[in-house]
């Protein structure tokens, strides 16, 4: 079986090491949550996978494609949605999706139908022809999410996707992500809301100081932390404390 994502020996140093010798495997059709304290290296790792940051060392394979040797092919099946929405204030959501679809060379007719459907699903149909400049943070996040989904990516990477969303919007996004995974898509996300990871993730990776401390289902992590029956919060705090002590 071709894994959705294989990361091996990934290294990145800015003024100090951000990611060190990181190995990560994400299976197709799973929702993988990458957790860690602030500055742990989560975003840097995901930016390297998305092709935004060049690693100093290591290998990244997305559905069997060497992302460092053939970035365009890897990007064609991947989507990246950061915590700060990558949108243009002076474009309407529909125009934004037209542009994003163009970047991924989606056939225009198909792209338009998909854009309308996505905006409708995300509750933005009424705002489709208004410029994004006055949108709330949550609305902008939803537009960006529609942009990430317009080319129907095999691997969807989201950095803090629920930041700034109200309860209803957060539920909507969670349902969409779950539906995507149920339909066979692969999702990697980072979040500080541990309950979300606990409830949604098939597997969880815990990273601190640029290293992967633990990886597996919640039960596996409980075993590693020696916290049988504990919440993800208990497990997370225990593992990151152990990691810091080591």
């Amino acid at each position: 079986m071709t894994e959705a994502l294989i990361v091996r020996g990934l290294d990145k140093t800015f003024s100090k090491p951000a990611v060190r010798d990181l190995d990560l495997t994400v299976h197709p059709g799973e929702l993988y949550a990458l957790l860690g304290p602030n500055g742990a290296g989560k975003t840097t790792t995901l930016r390297m996978v998305a092709g935004l940051t060049k690693p100093d060392k290591g290998a990244i394979s997305i559905f069997g494609i060497d992302a460092l040797a053939d970035p365009a092919a890897a990007k064609a099946i991947t989507a990246w949605a950061p915590d700060e929405a990558m949108i243009y204030d002076r474009l309407t959501p529909l125009e934004y999706l037209e542009f994003v679809a163009g970047l991924w060379s989606i056939e225009p007719k198909l792209a338009k139908a998909r854009a309308v459907e996505l905006l409708d699903t995300l509750g933005l149909a009424g705002e489709a022809r208004r410029r994004c400049e006055g949108f709330s943070r949550g609305m902008k996040q939803k537009v960006a999410l529609a942009g990430a989904l317009i080319h129907d990516p095999k691997l969807l990477i989201l950095d803090e996707p629920l930041t700034g969303l109200d309860a209803a919007a957060a539920r909507l996004v969670k349902d969409m992500l779950q539906a995507r995974v149920d339909a066979g898509g692969t999702v990697i996300l980072t979040t500080h809301i541990l309950e979300v990871a606990e409830r949604m993730a098939d597997r969880i990776g815990i990273i601190a100081g640029g290293r992967l401390l633990a990886e597996g289902s919640l039960d596996v992590l409980r075993g590693q932390a020696g916290k049988d029956g504990g919440t993800l919060e208990d497990v997370f705090l225990q593992l990151t404390a152990d990691g810091a002590a080591a």
């Binding site: 998305a50 092709g51 935004l52 060049k54 970035p71 365009a72 092919a73 990007k75 064609a76 991947t78 989507a79 990246w80 950061p82 990558m86 949108i87 243009y88 204030d89 002076r90 474009l91 309407t92 125009e95 037209e98 542009f99 994003v100 679809a101 163009g102 970047l103 991924w104 060379s105 056939e107 225009p108 007719k109 792209a111 338009k112 854009a115 022809r129 208004r130 410029r131 400049e133 006055g134 949108f135 709330s136 942009g147």
Partner: protein, 516 residues
């Protein structure tokens, strides 16, 4: 009670000045040695001019005749127009660029105090610009024999205060009339038009033609000499004030200070309300974008071109700046058509060169916007789109408005002098393309808001654009003058410069990585 009591006008003014100087120091730190050398040379040239002028005027007194008073009035009106352009833009921006306004308005300091200090800052800023240019020119004359001419600075201060009051009142009137969403756009365009009016007034001689403008001046001089040019007493005040007469100087200063105090203090509460209303106003009032339900553009090039053109067309600030540059073409276009109609070869060549030069400059500015001021660089970086396709589309988007801008002048010129039109079109196209390419090769990521003074652009790229545009302008000028073979020399040098500036994709990517 201390004069610097926290919350008082002087206390807040000191805070504003501190922030202003820190901001200025921060900007200057990033400008590099080149800017300092350029500024120093300019200052030196102005100082040399000022000293020469001072020596010539040492024993000359300004005649107290109606003509002198009329010229002074015209100068004051021109300076006021230019100041108004700046204060109107500053006043409208103050409403939208929130900065610390929320903090200040949520504090117990009265809104009128906040506005008073902000407005004082605007007036001081405008005044400083004029002082920088006038002091080296007029200072020597004052020192060398005319100390009373210090009154000029008093008149300048009064004009700055008056322009601030007018700018502030105009911005608030616009706010009341057309609402928060449109005020920013209209104020920016209005400010650009007022600024352009200043420029066009200064070019009246060019636009009217030598004989017409001379006859206007001669008529004024004759009317004055024959005693028919009569001014009311108030019309003499600016001249008398500039020459240091105490009462007119006090009157002019009182007028400026009075208007300023009246507008700043009376509009304080309204300004606070308006500033609060701007937050979220764009969302509340945003109307759906008009247009039929059209199909999506297909492919990287078409989609990127459509996006860039939409962003350019919807940026009022950017458009007003481009409009300003287009208006600068007006006198040149007038010279060109007049000389084309009358067969004036030398001026025709010069005019064609200016059009080519301006085409390069506008294209360079727009190319910087589309290429370097990308709002979502990460979106492009995570897409599989080829960087070359993206660049081509962005360059095309930058060149399209230039083509549009030149279409009418070139059409008129084609009618009057087809060969000149052909050379101008080729030269303008080449200059625009070359300046666009320089921006591709020497990208420096920045924000769209920095466009106004090209603060975000690389100074090296800006210098290269000026050099290449000038060389191509020279080549076209020579071709139009009937010396096309001589024109090959600057054309070849421009080509060599472009080859030297050329960078590979890997080099561009490396620079961008370092900049990020």
């Amino acid at each position: 009670m201390s004069l610097l009591r926290p919350g008082g006008v002087p206390w807040l003014l000191i805070h504003e000045i501190q922030l202003y100087w820190r901001g200025l120091a921060g900007k200057k730190a990033g400008r590099g040695v080149g800017a300092w050398i350029g500024g120093s040379i300019l200052l030196l040239v102005m100082l040399v001019g000022g000293v020469s002028l001072g020596l010539v005027l040492r024993r000359v007194d300004v005649p107290m005749v109606p003509l002198a008073a009329t010229i002074t009035l015209a100068c004051c009106a021109t300076a006021f127009t230019l100041m108004l352009s700046q204060t109107l833009a500053a006043a409208s921006e103050a409403l939208y660029e929130r900065g610390d306004l929320d903090l200040l308005f949520s504090s117990p300091i009265p809104p009128r105090t906040v506005l008073f200090v902000r407005a004082l800052g605007v007036a001081a800023g405008v005044m400083t610009v004029f002082l920088i240019f006038l002091t080296p020119l007029v200072g020597p004359a004052i020192i060398l024999g005319h100390p009373a001419w210090l009154g000029l600075f008093g008149v300048l201060a009064a004009l700055a205060l008056l322009a601030t009051a007018a700018g502030l009142s105009l911005a608030m009137a616009l706010f009341s009339l057309i609402g928060p969403r449109r005020t920013r756009t209209v104020a920016q365009v209005l400010a650009a038009l007022v600024g352009a009016a200043f420029f066009l007034t200064s070019q009246i001689r060019t636009i009217l033609g030598k004989s017409a403008s001379e006859s206007l001046f001669q008529t004024l001089a004759r009317e004055s000499a024959e005693g028919r040019l009569k001014l009311p007493p108030i019309g003499w005040w600016p001249l008398r004030a500039m020459l240091g007469e105490p009462l007119p100087l006090l009157a002019v200063l009182a007028l400026g200070a009075g208007a300023f105090a009246l507008s700043a203090l009376s509009l304080g509460r309204r300004f606070a309300d308006a500033a609060a209303a701007t937050q979220g106003a764009e969302a509340a009032a945003a109307k759906p974008v008009k247009g039929r339900d059209r199909a999506f553009a297909g492919g990287v090039f078409a989609a990127t071109l459509a996006k860039e053109l939409r962003l350019i067309l919807r940026d009022a600030g950017l458009l007003s700046q481009v409009l300003l540059r287009v208006l600068y073409l007006v006198p040149t276009a007038v010279i060109l058509s007049r000389n084309a109609a009358h067969g004036g070869g030398g001026a025709l060549a010069g005019g064609a060169g200016v059009v080519v030069f301006l085409a390069g400059q506008v294209a360079g500015s727009l190319a910087w916007i589309t290429l370097s001021a990308e709002e979502s660089p990460d979106l492009l970086a995570v897409s599989p789109a080829a960087i070359r396709s993206l660049r081509r589309a962005k360059l095309a988007a930058a060149l399209a408005p230039v083509a549009l801008m030149l279409a009418i002048p070139l059409a008129v010129l084609t009618w009057l002098a087809p060969l000149t039109a052909l050379w101008t079109a080729i030269g303008a196209g080449l200059a625009a393309w070359a300046c666009g390419l320089i921006n591709v090769w020497h990208q420096k990521p920045g924000k769209r808001a920095d466009f106004k003074r090209r603060r975000g652009a690389s100074w090296f790229a800006t210098l290269a654009e000026v050099g290449v545009s000038a060389l191509l302008a020279g080549a076209v000028g020579l071709a139009v003058a009937g010396l096309p073979l001589w024109g090959l020399a600057p054309l070849t040098i421009a080509g060599i410069v472009l080859l030297a500036l050329r960078r590979s994709d890997a080099q561009i990517a490396k620079t961008l990585r370092l900049a990020a």
